[in-house]
């Protein structure tokens, strides 16, 4: 198994390289010159041609694309993503977008796990009963609601109509005047609606997944054997069925990892949430290729890391897998 993991690690590099190359090529094929876009709509009397020429030189766009790609790659290897096309270092922009993204991502990830596991197991244990049927159906309905639609509805009900929660940004501008606990509460209030919007479909999916995994285990003979041996139901459920269902659940954990940083583009637009999704979308509009490449590389890295993590965790959870090396 460790050989597998090593193979995976080695594969990660060409994967990431491929991602950066494809991204760069797609951007190059895009219509729209970042310098022209940055110059914007010409104002009265403006000498647009020269403004754009200067911007082009400033952005380094007067060099051939191949050279730009290789230079970017060189610096990216040391995690220096260089300056964005407006001069500010890309890392600065990412670091600024990181806290709101992490808050949303980590909170939804942890809360998701926290709720989906017990709920899923509960559903599996009462499979076929009224509670399970109602729960499964409710979850399926929630799973069918995209997070951004849930966000719109939540904004309308709790933001516009009731005014209970703010629905834009991740903290009030007065945050620096608040004490630590006040600012925590402030962030919590701002995050509530968007977190709910992200959680509802995500939680539904995860719970259904866990329930399914545990149910499949419950079908197996060893469960009946344990029951026949007189073990209490709870022990059978948690100690055996769930333990064995852990592998697919951990796969789920690993696969959800990139979601922490993914940031839904639409949701962040609706909530004016200054996360990575919005950063990416704005970069897309401005053809800011250093930012676009940095974000796609990071997200690809997380996918690879997430898969690797899932594999490692699976192996740790289920020693049987180790032998298939």
């Amino acid at each position: 198994m460790f050989r597998e993991i090593l193979k995976r690690l080695l594969l990660a590099f060409p994967t990431l390289l491929g991602v950066t190359l494809v991204t760069f090529l797609v951007i190059q094929a895009a219509p729209g010159d970042p310098a022209e876009l940055a110059a914007g709509v010409p104002r009265a009397g403006a000498d647009t041609g020269r403004i754009e020429a200067r911007l082009r030189a400033f952005m380094g766009l007067d060099r051939p694309p191949a050279r730009r790609y290789l230079e970017w790659l060189e610096k990216a290897a040391t995690l220096d993503f260089g300056p964005a096309l407006d001069g500010e270092p890309v890392m600065d922009k990412i670091v600024r977008a990181l806290p709101p993204t992490l808050i949303l991502g980590t909170a939804s990830f942890l809360l998701g796990l926290l709720f989906s596991i017990p709920l899923g197991v509960l559903g599996a244990s009462r499979a076929g009963g009224l509670l399970d049927k109602a729960l499964s159906n409710l979850l399926l309905v929630l799973y069918s609601v995209p997070s951004w639609l849930a966000g719109l509805v939540l904004i309308l009900l709790f933001g516009v109509r009731l005014g209970w929660f703010p629905f834009q940004g991740w903290r009030s501008p007065e945050w620096h005047e608040m004490t630590f606990f006040q600012s925590l509460l402030d962030v919590a209030r701002h995050s509530f609606l968007i977190l709910l919007a992200v959680l509802l479909p995500g939680l539904a999916h995860d719970t259904l997944f866990v329930r399914q995994a545990v149910l499949e285990e419950m079908d197996k003979e060893y469960v009946q054997a344990s029951r026949a041996l007189g073990l209490p139901e709870r022990r059978v459920l948690w100690g055996h069925a769930f333990r064995n269902a852990l592998v697919p659940v951990l796969t789920l954990v690993g696969v959800s990892l990139p979601g922490i940083l993914a940031g839904s583009v639409i949701l962040e637009q609706i909530f004016s949430w200054p996360g990575m999704g919005r950063l990416f979308f704005q970069a897309l509009q401005g053809r800011d290729y250093p930012v676009i490449m940095a974000v796609t590389t990071l997200s690809a890295f997380l996918v690879v890391a997430g898969n690797l993590l899932a594999d490692i965790l699976s192996v740790l959870a289920d020693p049987r897998l180790r032998r298939h090396g």
Partner: protein, 591 residues
Amino acid sequence: MIRRVPFLLLTLLPPLLWGGCSKQEEATPLLPLNPPGLFAPRPKDPSKVAWERELVLRLPSPPSSLNPLFVKDALSAAVAGLLYDSPFDVGPGMEFLVNPSMVESFRESPDGLTFTTVLKEGLKWQDGAPFTSEDFLFTFSLLRDKDVPVLLLKAGLDRVRKITAPDARTIRVTFETPSPGNKWNLLLPVLPAHVWKPVRAGDPTLRKSRKALALARHPVGNGPYRLARFLPEEEVVLERWEGYPGPRPAFRRITWKVIPDRNAALLAFRAGELDALRVPHPADFLALGRDRALRGRAVLAKGDTWTYQFVAWNVSGRNPFFLDRRVRLAMACSLDRKSAVEKLFHGLFTLCAGPFHPSSPAADPSLSPIPYDPARAERLLDEAGWKVGPEGWRRRTCYFSPGEKGGWSLEPRPGAEARKATFSFELLLPAGSTATTNLALRWKDALARLGIEAKILALERSAFQMRVLKSHAFDAAFWAWGPGVDPYTSEDIFGSRGWPEGKNLGGFCDPLLDSLYAEGAAERDPVLRMKIYRKICRRIREEQPYLFLWYLPDLWVFRPDIRGVGFGPRGALGFSPGIQGWWAAAGEGRD
């Protein structure tokens, strides 16, 4: 399964009942619109002004920069304008203003070539260093430096023959040729040389180095406010600078909150978090005006701007449809703009007859917007040769020559082959713009009744901008222009010199118009000049290079204690004094 259905209904019903009730607000009367007190200038008696008041405003997107040289949009310019004061400015009537708190005297030489400015004594920057003519010269050198990616670069700066600073308070600028535009090229922000020279030594672009970035966060200006805090994506906070030589800044603090979402901004105002908010959409404006929660807590304000929205016709030969003047006129008759203004924009837009607003001296007051007349449109189209074909769409034989210099034409040309063209054109608009899309959809149906097919193409904003401004790859496109400081600036839009690199979007080249513009530029007598621009107005009206839609209003809501607001051709901001003229009445409180 059958049990699931009522369950579904239960979950969907409450939101349906609750969220759907939006029509009862029609009956409530509007908040006061343009109350006279709103425009009252600051009184001489200081006790009437609430000096400790804070002003909270909204930015729809983070400011592109706080450095006036790198500023792109009007709102960022407004913020930068509070930090940096310059010797010259634009007044509410688009007139050239000399800043009395900075300039002692301003002289134009009789031949119109040399302008001498004498600064006041004792001018300082916010860090205490003196403001001298050196700063002006330094900023000018930045503009001419090809390494600095300045967004303000004007073609007119090439016409500066010489710029000197005979002493620390005098600036002398000499131009090559006399022109009404010369004065306007003096309208530059001024950066402190003593702060930026050291940065320039290590970073010629002034944007890349750590020092430059740090300066961007903590700028040194000379305006009425200094930067207290800048959190991109969240807020910009400005504080009153007591050392400001001009009239005392009226607010202790001005906070700009970055609120990208329109609905969130409306709610923020309703909740009392904002003191003034620009509300570009008429439906939202009226909804706020009828909101019961705002009774007595807000007033509405509306000013007419000279910004006009239009449809640009591509007449460069890319398509044969709009080459004939009569067709363009027919298109103008085909759109019921009056009904659109009433239905889609609640009567708040003003119909537009030409590029110069009726209140501008350059406009011809006898010209009125072309009325909706589908019968006339049909006649014009038939006259122009676009006859209704058997399928119902209009067709005409046109001539197309391939290649670079080729294109469509209505008359036979050597090398051109005759083709039967069906009147089917692409109408370009930016994606996500609901109001324009609604208008386009309604117009499409009206055009179909005339036998014309309009294919609506909604492009992503940047791609849209590029296609209209740069590659001119469109048949017809929605666009808007704001007013220039002087009518001569419209030559870039309607004159041949604006094609293809300038603001001439559709390739409209008319020799008569070009000669009129040349006349206007050469004419020194102001009354005669305006006569020439009126002729230009009439010519544009005849030729219809654009389908002029309407002038956009500037719609705002304010807290009742805000005063000193003024509306100019660019709206409430974009001219002097702008926000600097606002003040809060003492003793009235915020709500």
